[in-house]
């Protein structure tokens, strides 16, 4: 038994590695400069259009989209190698379409919704967002109070969502709301709300670490036709969980890539910087950082591949995904921190990508569920499995 990507999946990873080196790395200085000036970290429309054209040429599009929708239908395992490469640069970019909502739509959309939302999304032509979190319900989404009430042929949604990414650019947002009297997970339903729907107000933009932006959304008598209920009434939690699982595995791969970059930088600096007449690379303190980083990167990569392979085999990997999410984000943070420390003052500058990766990984310990919540879930499952 070999714990590595197949030959073909290695070739795909190499393809993305070249894409990152030739197309994304050259954009890094501009992205870092934008962040240093306090702007939103993103690509210009022109940069994004050029990258998308290149992706189309290279077939880096619709990677996990099923063949009947024109995609490459790659297994999750293949995507993990490719995402690891994308993680090597903080230039924000993904190959359209973004996976999590794709999988949620595939699991829950009816034929008409497939035509209206999934097909254009799968083609990479539509953008989407997901609104789960609320001021009183984040790490514990089952505490949400946003409510949808049936009124004739429509649902009328009222509530407040916060920390929602991408929402101003989204052609549609999947909004989670309470529809029944059930407690906690029961009675939560997903709705597709199109951009510009009356009563769907984007109240404010919230600047976050790493030049990221999230948004607060007020739903005020926001009316959507019954046909826009996604999946079964009161059963929205399970497809939402699937979506979160996909993202958590992807985050594991991104973190592996970030840590690889930080370790590369740490090694190159440690070899050429001398203090007190000795190279940093010859100091035990630095060597231990390097050894620990290499070991944890190896462990993380294997954890990600294991969870991805099980996901491809149709197993429930929620526990593995939680483990990956906690381990990967904390691992990457440690490795980046040591690299920054080894660079000294240079590591504190906004000219190196390390600080931007650090800010990103800091937010990753919170979004898609804080580490502590995942630990709680893992511990519960472990305890429950013992007699």
């Amino acid at each position: 038994m070999m714990f590595e990507l197949s030959e073909e999946h290695r070739m795909l990873k190499d393809l993305v590695a070249k894409f990152v080196d030739r197309e994304l790395m050259p954009l890094e200085p501009a992205v870092l400069a934008r962040e240093a000036q306090g702007q939103k970290v993103g690509l210009t429309d022109e940069e994004e259009a050029r990258l998308h054209a290149r992706c189309k040429e290279l077939g880096l599009w619709g990677l996990d989209v099923p063949a009947e929708l024109g995609g490459a239908n790659l297994p999750v395992v293949a995507l993990m190698g490719m995402n690891e490469e994308l993680g090597r640069t903080p230039v924000p970019f993904y190959f359209p379409p973004d996976s999590p909502n794709l999988h949620m739509l595939m699991a829950a959309a009816n034929p008409e919704q497939r035509r209206l939302y999934l097909d254009p999304y799968a083609r990479g032509e539509a953008k989407s967002a997901i609104a789960i979190s609320e001021p009183g319900a984040g790490g514990d989404p089952a505490a949400m109070i946003t409510r949808a009430v049936k009124d004739g042929g429509d649902w009328v949604i009222n509530g407040r969502k916060i920390w929602i990414s991408r929402v101003p650019y989204a052609d549609f947002t999947i909004v989670m709301a309470r529809t029944g009297e059930g407690k906690r997970h029961e009675g939560i339903t997903a709705f597709i709300v199109e951009k510009g729907t009356p009563g769907f107000h984007i109240e404010r933009e919230i600047p976050m670490l790493g030049g990221q932006r999230t948004y607060e959304v007020l739903l005020e008598d926001c009316r959507v036709p019954e046909a826009q209920m996604l999946g079964r009434l009161g059963q929205g939690f399970a497809p939402m969980q699937l979506r979160l699982t996909i993202r958590r595995l992807q985050m594991g791969a991104w973190c592996t890539g970030m840590a690889v970059r930080a370790l590369d930088m740490l090694c190159s600096h440690a070899r050429q910087r001398s203090t007190f007449g000795v190279r940093l690379a010859d100091r035990q303190a630095v060597q231990w950082w390097i050894a620990e980083a290499a070991t944890k990167i190896h462990a993380c990569r294997l954890m990600v591949l294991d969870a991805a392979a099980k996901q491809d085999a149709g197993q429930d990997v929620r526990t593995e995904a939680s483990m990956v999410k906690v381990f990967a984000t904390e691992m990457a943070q440690d490795v980046i921190d040591h690299a920054m420390q080894a660079y000294g003052a240079m590591g504190m500058t906004k000219e190196l990508p390390l600080q931007l990766m650090m800010q990103k990984v800091r937010t990753m310990r919170v979004y898609e569920g804080p580490s502590e919540v995942h630990r709680m879930v893992i511990a519960r499952r472990v305890l429950d499995s013992r007699r």
Binding site: K18, L58, A72
Partner: protein, 249 residues
């Protein structure tokens, strides 16, 4: 026109090569291996000739351990049509490779062979020339430009001091230099298609060739460590040092 492109599996150009602790060679265990970059240029040139309608078939050949099939697969993903793997664990030296290639030429009858001017592992720069001698074919080595005209090929060669243009009659051998082209990267659909392209596996014995090494490697060693540099205070001091210490002027 059929083009044969030999491709070699070498330590990836980004990897820092390390000598094995027993001095018998370089470490390849656990090291990322890739197609020799000059061979990538050769595959690219062949694929361009096919895209222009000049070539009809491209056959990629690799020799060595079973994992060399992966290098062939990369060539197939770039656009070669099929592959031949000559599988052996013997350490292959240029003469053995040239003899094996000669046997494959007898089997395949290509009109043109495009190959790397050298492999970045041992930098021998010998196989193409040896093959030309064994076959009695004309050779255009270190090519920075290749043009097929009728039954001939014009090759612009990068030689010391400038460029030399030679006209060869097909069949011929061209070895590639860095400036010939910039190799494409295999696109995702082509990587997927490569899976379905055939790779034939042969042994040296099937080709009637004894690949045993003719050269004995005594020892492989790291280059000597560079001495630390010194800072000079003035041009005069520099010139003095170059005269008296370095003795180069």
């Amino acid at each position: 026109m059929k083009i044969l492109v030999p491709v070699k599996r070498v330590v990836d150009y980004n990897v820092k090569v390390r000598v094995k602790s027993d001095g018998t060679g370089v470490e390849t265990a656990g090291v990322k291996m890739s197609m020799n970059p000059f061979d990538e240029i050769a595959v690219e040139e062949a694929v361009r000739l096919k895209e222009k309608g000049v070539a009809t078939e491209i056959v990629a050949v690799s020799m060595g351990v079973a994992a060399s099939a992966e290098t062939i697969r990369t060539a197939l993903a770039m656009g070669a049509d099929r592959g031949i793997l000559v599988e052996t664990d013997v350490d292959l030296q240029p003469l053995a490779v040239a003899k094996l290639l000669k046997a494959i030429v007898a089997k395949e009858a290509p009109n043109l062979i495009i190959m790397g001017k050298q492999a970045i592992d041992d930098d021998m720069s010998a196989t193409g020339q040896m093959l030309a001698a064994l076959l009695g074919w004309p050779q255009g080595t270190f090519a920075s430009k290749v043009a097929i005209e009728g039954d001939g090929v014009t090759v612009v060669r990068e030689v010391d001091g400038g460029l030399e243009t030679v006209a060869l009659t097909l069949p011929a051998i061209v070895t590639t230099d860095l400036r010939l082209n910039e190799p494409r990267y295999a696109s995702l659909p082509n990587i997927m298609k490569a899976r379905k392209k055939p790779i034939e596996t042969l042994k040296p014995a099937d080709l009637g060739v004894d690949p045993a090494p003719r050269l004995t490697v005594l020892t492989v060693a790291e280059p000597p460590k560079r001495q630390a540099g010194v800072k000079v205070g003035s041009v005069a001091e520099l010139v003095a040092k170059l005269k008296t210490e370095a003795k180069v002027i």
